[in-house]
Symmetry: C2
């Protein structure tokens, strides 16, 4: 049995890819007018088929499925089936709740949907994380420094000589007893990746914010893969590339991975 | 059209009840062995029917529905239908994500499921909250000081002369332009309610943690309803009261509300 963090490192090495394909299938981004749920499902499968060769992981964003209620969750179940077991899956859920409730979310995301890892929110402290890190094969990526403009509202507040996101990084390093804890750090703040690595050496990073959000691919890929590994998430830049054909999506994923290979030598 | 915070105050005054009935229908709490999803659905309806007279609001906890995937979300849709429009509903989802994603969660919780309010997480700052507070009729309760043991891990960190939860309270007061922002404060920390009121005067509070978590009903109800209003959430103490019959659940809700009426005179 392999711990999640080793499974991730192995996957990156075997595929020579650091690409996480985010599945945020927003009807407003489709070229088609008024797409139905069937259209969205078909597009999701197309994105998966077009990118299998290059994706180290897929990251379905639960919000885009929840938006459609029970039918949206049926679509999410089908999406996980379609991905299969050869590529890692990260449930982008950003959950965070008291232990009693967190346990239910862990059952949902790991046992029901079968994700390999999930994203979590650190605001409620350790006992909101614990139920997700009991099984070493399953991993978590905890929000540390986020890519949105108002990420600084709380995350950069200084207390006890550290900014809040630094305390989060340090606390998360302390949770990594099963080698299955990682962090979410936005590509919009590459300078802070080095600092985070000091507090959380070796923890894998999930880096969103490249593409539509304007993050720096080269800087964040390089910093993220120094003294540890990092996955770079791209959502809209791949799922809705060009004319949204399978070929356009395939080329977009290929281009990203080739650029990454060049950057990392 | 009424702002959410006025709708809430009106509801409390009309019903003379400060009781929020939490719907965390955990199969492990059922007296029945190996309950099916149908059993859980029937129990949920029973809890609603038994408590309608006393509940100022219902708070379905999404984790307990998500655990069952698409079928669980169908159960949540039926639950909302069964509650109807005469009692306020709070979707306990504790969501928090970048604006683009938060917008999808707002569509899910307000438009698809039809909740009157939702719980949110403040870690990602203002732009993760904004999409939920555009419609004044719909409200949010933002996590401020939570009832779990490790709530202190981050929330009590001091920066700029204030603890993090005090900064959250102050920031949330600044978001209340549409009179639809409230806070979540655990019943396990009643002393801190007065402090929160100083930073966020008049914001309604949602207070979980009474019952199974050992929070102080009298202290938190009194502090919460001084210079503002507060809803007290009870989940397991009502949904799984006594022999779990409709009568036992009815009596448990009635007892809570009578105690509350006595405390508030």
């Amino acid at each position: 049995m392999n711990c999640f963090n080793s499974r991730l490192s192995d996957q990156l090495a075997v595929k020579q890819s650091w690409l996480c394909v985010g599945l945020d299938i927003n009807p407003e981004n489709m070229t088609q007018e008024n797409p139905t749920l069937d259209d969205l499902q078909n597009h999701t499968k197309k994105v998966i088929d077009a990118t299998r060769e290059f994706a180290a992981a897929y990251k379905p964003n639960l919000a885009f499925f929840e938006r459609w209620g029970s039918k949206g969750f049926a679509w999410l179940e089908e999406t996980l089936d379609h991905i299969g077991v050869d590529t890692l899956t990260i449930g982008d859920a950003k959950r965070g709740d008291i232990g009693h409730t967190a346990k239910q979310y862990a059952i949902s995301l790991f046992d029901h949907f079968g994700f390999d890892a999930v994203t979590l929110n650190p605001y409620m402290g350790r006992d909101a994380i614990d139920p997700f890190i009991q099984n070493p094969e399953k991993g978590v990526f905890i929000l540390c420094r986020t890519s949105n403009n108002s990420g600084v509202d709380l995350q950069n507040l200084k207390g006890n000589g550290k900014r809040l996101f630094e305390t989060v990084a340090e606390n998360c390093a302390g949770l990594n007893e099963n080698d299955n804890v990682g962090l979410v750090v936005g590509a919009t703040v590459p300078k802070e990746i080095d600092i985070i690595r000091q507090y959380a050496p070796g923890l894998p990073l999930l880096i969103p914010g490249v593409g539509a959000q304007g993050g720096d691919l080269e800087a964040s890929l390089t910093a993220g893969n120094t003294n540890g590994v990092a996955l770079i998430n791209v959502s809209r830049g791949i799922s809705f590339a060009g004319d949204q054909s399978e070929e356009a999506i395939h080329i977009a994923a290929k281009d990203y991975v080739e650029i990454m290979r060049t950057i990392l030598g």
